[in-house]
Amino acid sequence: MGREPARVNGVEFALLGHQESWPRISSIVHALRDPDRPRLAEEDVRQVASWIPPRTLVRSRVSSIANGRSARGVYIETFVAPDELEARAFHRAIEKVREAVTCAAREGAQIAALGGFTSIVLEGRPELAEAPEGLALTTGNSLTSALIVKGVEAAAGLLGIGLSHASLLVVGSTGDIGSACAGYFATKVRRLLLSARNAERLRRQEDSLRRSGVDATASTDLRPLLRAADVVVCAASLAAPALEIDECRPGALVCDAGYPKNLRPANHRRGAPHVFWGGMGQCTGGWESDSPLLDIFYSFPAARVAHGCLLEGVALALERRFESFSQGRGRITPERIEEIWEIASRHGIVLAPLFGPDGLWPTTPADPADWIPFLA
């Protein structure tokens, strides 16, 4: 096959991501298409987009709030299509993740964060994506977990929910992020509820927590647990939204941290649960890009907001710690959560303003810097 093109100098981090919906992919294609060209039907986009090999879409420079430090990086779109998140397309998706890792190495990145679905290769079977020399791979799950738990604490504070008196349910509790959240909240809530699809893993998790003195109840039957929970953390790896918000207790706090989302869209109604999208962070130090594409697929109701899994790569690059901070499954301890939270905070990567299906929470402070003392 011959040698690969020479590495491009200057790139420190690579963020590997994928889109959750075809309309989002279509919007990227049309943003790249000259305005005088006829608009493509979504079907035409579908027929072509899933064949596109992973590639850099955007080049960015992210600035830290500490000492004016900055890091250059790239966002690499894997083009793992929404329907390739299903188990039957697993091998094709894995191949794309591998290609994306090669692309990150070709860019000269020293660390690559595997966002959303792409991280499963490092969680369950790291042998599927061997890191090229000089490139560290991280799932980003530690910072995602940190942003979830800090988000839940902040949101509970805003809603007046005392966590020490609450029942907290983790959906997808045996996954890497789910188990991190369960471990973090184990000693902070009154009762821990756990749900996952794998009954054996779930039973082991429940036993382990109970042996540590935690009031833990586990079940593969999610519905009764949803009705019993004051706080719900959705962290399941689902190909498409599958959970009904109506199953939750009225007034409950629900953090959907799925990428893709776990909750089906629902109409807002009085007394409904309070939903926010968890695991999202914000760069307060600055984020400059060479293309407006980031704003298209990160079209969140606040500026410079991104998934925690990707921001972990940014935080580690700003910290000059080019290491596989998050790898494997079940290794994210509360101590590791605090460690990555400190690193991120030091460089101005903070909890994003709370937002959900209806936009920004009305009680969210306008200035994200206000979150820092609140969470300290």
């Binding site: 035409d44 899933s50 596109i52 090999p53 590639r55 850099t56 879409l57 080049r59 692309c103």
Partner: protein, 247 residues
């Protein structure tokens, strides 16, 4: 039992017509390749490269002969027409680079763009068919891959020397050539017969022999983009080019 056998015979006869159209496209494409390499000889910077271009032209001619042999074996007639609508436009685009004396542009068009198309199509046909047809397409796909590899090695060196200049030149060529290829491999021929298919457009019947026009197009674009990546063209650049192709 007899009705069943007749249906099988009908199906075989109908599939043979599809194979005939596929082979007609392949032979016409190989003849265009042969002509292109022959035109390149005068531009080659050294005697060694001139000999190489002549050998490549001869190799394309042998591919055309091999496809003809498959058609004979199947007992189907071929339409061999490098002047048919799309092939003529591709040949004209190539000749414009020859007229401009741009050897590198010729390599981009013939060995990167046209060979990416050929390799992806031939691989797909080899996987979907069996017997002599599968063996022939499989062997020729491997042969064409060596042309693609040659292009990647040569063009990578050119790209490393002047990436911006190389990308600008390739973007222009993409507009001239890949637009035609995109129309050619579109799932539907919206502007009438291409002049190579014997009767109705073969794209409508590809499903009968285990192929699909959208998948063939997807594979061709994928290999083209992968080849550009390996040459060193920035991914965001080539993505923008592909996003601007016709549906």
């Amino acid at each position: 039992m007899q009705a069943c056998s007749l249906r099988v015979l009908d199906r075989d006869a109908s599939n043979r017509l599809i194979y005939a159209d596929v082979l007609s496209q392949a032979v016409s494409g190989e003849l265009v390749g042969m002509l292109n390499y022959a035109s390149m000889v005068a531009l080659c910077p050294s005697a060694a490269e001139q000999q190489e271009a002549i050998a490549d032209a001869e190799s394309e001619r042998r591919h055309a002969l091999a496809f003809r042999a498959v058609a004979r074996d199947l007992g189907v007639p071929l339409v061999e027409d490098p002047r048919a609508r799309y092939w003529r436009r591709l040949r004209e685009a190539f000749q414009r680079q020859v007229a401009a004396g741009d050897f590198l542009a010729c390599l981009v068009v013939q060995e990167l763009m046209l060979e990416s198309l050929a390799v992806s199509m031939y691989r797909a046909v080899a996987e979907a068919t069996d017997g002599l047809m599968a063996r022939t397409f499989g062997t020729i796909a491997l042969d064409e891959e060596s042309h693609l590899e040659h292009a990647v090695t040569t063009l990578r060196a050119a790209c490393e020397l002047d990436r911006v200049g190389f990308e600008t030149r390739t973007e222009r060529l993409h507009g001239e050539v890949m637009t035609v290829i995109a129309e050619m491999v579109a799932p539907r021929c919206s502007s009438g017969p291409c002049g190579v298919c014997a009767e109705r457009c073969v794209k409508e019947s590809l499903g009968d022999i285990g192929l699909s026009a959208p998948v063939l197009r997807g594979k061709a674009l994928r290999l083209y983009l992968q080849s550009l990546d390996r040459v060193g063209v920035r991914g965001e650049k080539s993505l923008r080019w592909v996003a601007n192709l016709p549906a």
